[in-house]
Symmetry: C2
Subunit: 314 residues, 2 copies
Amino acid sequence: MAKRVCIIGCGAIGSLYAAHLARVAEVHAFVRRPEHAQALNQHGLRVSGKRDFTARLRATMDPSQLPAFDLGIVCTKSTQTAEAIAPVAHLFERGAVLSAQNGLGNEELIAERVRGYVLRGTTFMSGSRHSDTHVQMELDTATWLGPFEPTRTPFALVQEVAALLVESGLKAEALEDARPAQWSKLIFNASVNAVSALTELPHCPAFAEEAGFSDLGHLLHELINEGKAVAAALGIPLHEDPWEMNKIGAQTNHPPSMLYDIEHRYATEVDFLGGAIAREAARAGVSAPLHTALYRLVKGKEASWAWPRGGEEK
Amino acid sequence: MAKRVCIIGCGAIGSLYAAHLARVAEVHAFVRRPEHAQALNQHGLRVSGKRDFTARLRATMDPSQLPAFDLGIVCTKSTQTAEAIAPVAHLFERGAVLSAQNGLGNEELIAERVRGYVLRGTTFMSGSRHSDTHVQMELDTATWLGPFEPTRTPFALVQEVAALLVESGLKAEALEDARPAQWSKLIFNASVNAVSALTELPHCPAFAEEAGFSDLGHLLHELINEGKAVAAALGIPLHEDPWEMNKIGAQTNHPPSMLYDIEHRYATEVDFLGGAIAREAARAGVSAPLHTALYRLVKGKEASWAWPRGGEEK
């Protein structure tokens, strides 16, 4: 069956999905900037790194130019989910929409706007976007996907989407319950991103050091344990151990996305990361004092951008 | 009795003590920069604001030019206590040394180096330093002082020092136990400074807001309650309620000293503020997870200055 797929948001992850899927399906990219759409239509989309090819696809910022779709994959930042899906939501009435975003709460925002099926997704792929038409693939890791429970998405549909991703050359795994995978990444991401945003350190070896009293590894360990306790209170087992993920990541010196946002004074995804853990903890009747504290600090840091900076004034 | 007093460190607070005391005692200022000493010797020290006068005093950066003293007042940043007192410690063998610094742990550092009596001090005076020879007095509030317990400082000596401060035109109160005053300010300062350093917000109304879930007032309240619990575990009653101090301070939009340090990439006093609460909590066998977490974050932020900044590189 020839599928028609819409990629909503073409950053690094969206570009990787778009280019791969364009080899086995009719792919349209829904983007925000007219020059981005024009460049994709004119030059196609090149993938380098782990593989090297250029795919042809269609791109637009105008929802009226888009047909109905079998599948949508939302790849925007979590802060942009609602505004990105709203103008194209009607195109998925007979289709399905997969969130391949960070954190918790995107599927809810999609399901409020789309009448079709929603899929819960978590990806560990990574890439660097060199331009609007060139993305370098770094980690060629799987997308884990499963049903979003409230839309009663059939597991056969999840398997079909996973098969399409695999056919396109990506790794994917269909799961009856995608929450253990999503929560593993959520706990890891919420802990590492908040500490990085507040210290302005990249994900560096200090994040796993626990020798001295002031070492950050203690804090990461406590944040991760707190997140695990919230997952346990919600009855969600974990797919991977976030502390092991942290120990590996701490060797990369990679700047987490929230550090990039802080440095550029963009709204962070904290409401979908630590803020989501804090809210879910309250819902489950357990406490998450550290995630809640760091959530409030990151929100305070965002608020500080409205203040004149003392350092520049004196 | 004509007293001979040494002011160690002439920032805003040290300048206020030096100028006032120079009207009733022989005052020497021990400073780090030769041009600072020269300017004080040449022009004296002007106080404006709440009062207006210029005092003559002697200043030097050379310990060999200093006589023995009846009283020393240490006014450096806590991070500089050890190196500032070391070269002049022998001048107080028959005298006393008062710490009028931020946080907890300065008296210990002084007592390790000085054979005379040590006094525990906490001041709420504030001023702005316009130049090496001009300080503007802002808050004309009291210095609270008491014995540092391990040196068995006689209370009569505390009263004598308080009387000298009052004679010089400052407010001062001799206390049999200065820890309740010191801990009130410590809890306030540790909470406000850490939140300000990490958010880069000045002490603004948000620090007392508790309406929404993400509001920073919740975090300040929890930090202050945690600090109170540590004081209680140590058997130290509080002199004032730090939450009330926070509510008043939050209306000032004043940048706390740690925010100034962060903006200028100077080592902060966090080891003497939140770090001291975290250590004292461990000593008392109680937990202080929030002060400990914020302490580690501020130490991480200091460590980040050794990293290249992503925002400037990309």
